[in-house]
């Protein structure tokens, strides 16, 4: 993975000094909370219901064992012994004191981490495919370009006061595991017919109260133009994006209001006008950065390990875990191990400091000291030799993170909701917990098959309910919590915004409603058909009848 050099260290250190000054001005009352707000937000610090929340960046979801240990340490020392992985490959702490934050940043900088631009109206953490570099379906590893983009946009002098937040995701694989179509800019590395490497560039996707699927602005952009093209998009957005209404300020609204053709013309004009800008980092720098992402020293191993095959015939739990959570690796004899942070008795995305330490240790021993975070709030051990799978599984069992539920109904994306967040209008975590209680038998969960169930506690949609195969949105009516159900969403290659099925359900009714929907799927599915396939084939009518006709 990328390692800081002197320049990176200097910049991070100087940022800590700057931030420390901003905090001390606030604590001394020299600036008002109103003026301090945008400053702390640029550093991922939110004022929540009970305390401050601090969001730490994990660039493109790649994290080392040492870094994960530091996150565990910070959780232990400054929080209540845990952290929470978000849908943008970040980690956030929910119980932070403002006074502690400069010191936390200093500690983070010692392991080459920061909270720079994890919030506020700036370029946020660049996200990517959690299987980057190890996926068999990859055109090119997206991490080097993600790192180049990260650097380009860090403390960018022109784009640090944008109309609204800005999120970029990049993938190098055919399958979209980075939800690029619901980002402000989505980049997909592709190969032209002539064999040239470049990008498909998408723009204007996003969730929140007005969800949009991103539109293609360039079918093929040569690789060397990507930074200048991003600059052109950001420039058009910085100047033309609305600043009068926070709810209409995202680039998706600009793209929608102008239409993709007019928007593209503005971008292409600016792109042409900037043709003399030298934004290429140069071959030597590209090679320097790429070298950090070279494959680790894999050893030559047989494709299958007989011990694993034996163990899976003897132990059903191991077999299920293997089948569900372990995925094909590009290198023979290796596997990608998914670690869903979704134990049935837990909170989606939450992880204790002890669990972080244990995973750091497992990665050190079995995965070249590297871990990935996913946009579904899970972790990945990307490089596990198949002969080590039993040990890894046992290690995960020991920390309650071996539930075989990847992409299953209990692998819920869930925002913190009103239990923590001051924007939320309803609670989301208790709904996830009650759903897990209802579908608690693994046989049942596995029988239901693949389904993405996403829950947001308010219209801001941090739980990605719009793109859940089944989405639940909490809405408050006269002080009471109701839950609206959307069906048919997806954030993958076939991305789609789900449609509201009908009137919302009370908190008491929502779990029954989900069960009824699952019932419709089970009784209508054809052999091998997953929930979303069935829904797409039969449409919403039967689902709707099951929910509302009995009322």
């Amino acid at each position: 993975m990328y390692e800081y050099d002197q320049t990176d260290h200097t910049l991070t250190r100087e940022r800590v000094i700057e931030y420390r000054d901003q905090v001390s001005r606030r604590l001394e009352g020299k600036i008002s909370e109103e003026d301090f707000r945008p400053l702390r937000l640029k550093n991922g610090l939110y004022a929540q219901m009970h305390a401050y929340m601090l969001r730490v960046a994990i660039p493109y979801g790649v994290i080392s064992s040492d870094q994960l240990r530091m996150l565990a340490h910070i959780g232990q020392k400054y929080d209540k012994g845990y952290g929470h992985f978000t849908t943008r490959q970040n980690l956030q702490y929910n119980w932070i004191n403002l006074e502690d934050t400069p010191e936390i940043l200093k500690e983070l900088s010692s392991v080459e981490m920061s909270a720079i631009q994890t919030s506020g109206n700036v370029n946020r953490n660049i996200t990517s495919d959690p299987y980057a570099g190890v996926a068999p379906d990859e055109v090119l590893d997206p991490r080097p370009i993600a790192e180049i983009i990260r650097q380009f946009l860090t403390l960018h002098p022109e784009f640090s006061w944008l109309p609204r937040k800005f999120k970029i995701a990049v993938t190098g694989a055919d399958e979209d595991r980075a939800a690029i179509k619901v980002h402000d800019i989505g980049l997909k590395i592709i190969k032209s017919e002539a064999g040239e490497i470049g990008f498909e560039v998408l723009v204007g996707g996003g969730l929140g109260r007005s969800p949009f699927i991103a539109k293609t602005i360039r079918g093929f952009l040569p690789k060397e133009d990507v930074i200048r093209y991003i600059q052109a998009i950001l420039r058009v957005y910085n100047i033309e994006g609305r600043r009068d209404n926070i709810y209409k300020a995202r680039i998706k609204i600009l793209v929608h209001q102008l239409g993709i053709k007019s928007f593209a013309k503005l971008v292409e004009d600016e792109f042409k006008a900037s043709k003399d800008d030298i934004l290429l980092v140069g071959r030597e720098e590209e090679e320097r950065i790429s070298a950090f992402f070279a494959s680790p020293d894999y050893v030559k191993l047989p494709i299958d390990y007989i011990g694993v095959v034996e163990a899976s015939t003897n132990d059903n739990a191991f077999a299920e875990w293997l089948e569900r959570n372990v995925t094909t690796h590009k290198q023979a004899g290796y596997a990608i191990v998914n670690v869903p942070l979704k134990p049935l008795d837990g909170v989606p995305g939450d992880i204790t400091s002890d669990q972080m330490d244990a995973i750091a240790r497992l990665a050190e021993k079995y995965s070249f000291s590297e871990i990935r975070a996913t946009h579904r709030q899970n972790l990945v051990l990307p490089d596990v030799a198949k002969r080590d799978l039993i040990s890894v599984w046992q290690g995960l069992c020991g920390i309650n993170l071996a539930t075989a539920n990847l992409d299953r109904i209990s692998d819920i994306i869930c925002c913190p909701g009103m239990d923590y967040c001051s924007l939320a209008t309803t609670r989301s975590i208790p709904i996830a917990q009650r759903l897990n209680e209802r579908f608690k038998h693994l046989d049942n969960i596995l029988n239901i098959g693949e389904i993405h169930l996403n829950i947001s506690g308010c219209i801001n949609a941090c739980g990605h309910h719009h793109v859940g195969h089944m989405g639940i949105l909490g809405v408050e009516k006269n002080g009471e919590e109701f839950y609206q159900v959307t069906l048919g969403g997806s954030s993958s290659r076939d991305a789609e915004i789900g449609k509201i099925i009908g009137p919302a359900f009370s908190s008491e009714e929502i779990v029954d409603a989900v069960e009824k929907l699952i019932g419709v799927y089970i009784s209508n599915r054809e052999v091998g058909e997953q929930y979303l396939d069935t829904y797409r084939r039969i449409g919403p009518i039967l689902f709707k009848e099951a929910l509302y006709d009995a009322h």
Partner: protein, 170 residues
């Protein structure tokens, strides 16, 4: 109102005039875009030093071919959160070839100054209550940068590779 120029506190020698104010010979005045557009000919031949102030709704493209008339261009930050003038400054410096004084006015506080400096501003009319000493320090908050801009900070990739040269020489 404290004015910082080239890293020092200086007296403001410019007078910002309303559109109906009389302009005297041999003085330095800052006019509005409206006045410039209405009185372009008269102002061009007058003996005063001309400056212009654009608010954040006014894209400097409208004066792109006029920049030679101005010793000073002031760009307004209508609110701390309004970042349009960062782009405008770069257009003026990098595209329209403006070499005179580029002044940040309006909401101008310590925490924007480093970015403003990198985008080509060289004078800053600080908002009321902004700490002057710290603001001057803020211009050099960072000794390194990742990306090229209008200032002299070499981007990181050039520092890293001594032999770095333009990808397309000439």
């Amino acid at each position: 109102m404290t004015l910082i120029k080239d890293g020092n506190v200086v007296e403001n020698s410019w007078r910002t005039v309303d559109d109906n104010d009389e302009i005297y010979d041999v003085e330095a005045v800052i006019v509005s875009l409206n006045r410039w557009q209405n009185e372009k000919e008269a102002l061009s031949v007058s003996n005063c030093s001309l400056g212009i102030c654009l608010n954040s709704d006014q894209h400097p493209a409208v004066i792109a071919s006029d920049v030679g008339h101005f010793y000073l261009i002031a760009l307004e930050f209508s609110a701390l959160a309004d970042g349009r003038s960062f782009s405008y400054a770069r257009f003026l410096r990098e595209r329209y070839g403006f070499k005179g004084e580029l002044r940040a006015v309006g909401e101008v506080t310590q925490d924007q100054l480093f970015f403003m400096g990198r985008c080509g501003f060289d004078s800053f009319e600080l908002s009321e209550g902004t700490n002057v000493e710290k603001s001057i320090g803020a211009l050099t908050s960072f000794s390194v940068a990742y990306q090229p801009a209008v200032d002299n900070l070499k981007p990181a990739y050039r520092l890293r590779h001594e032999s770095w040269q333009l990808p397309f020489p000439g």
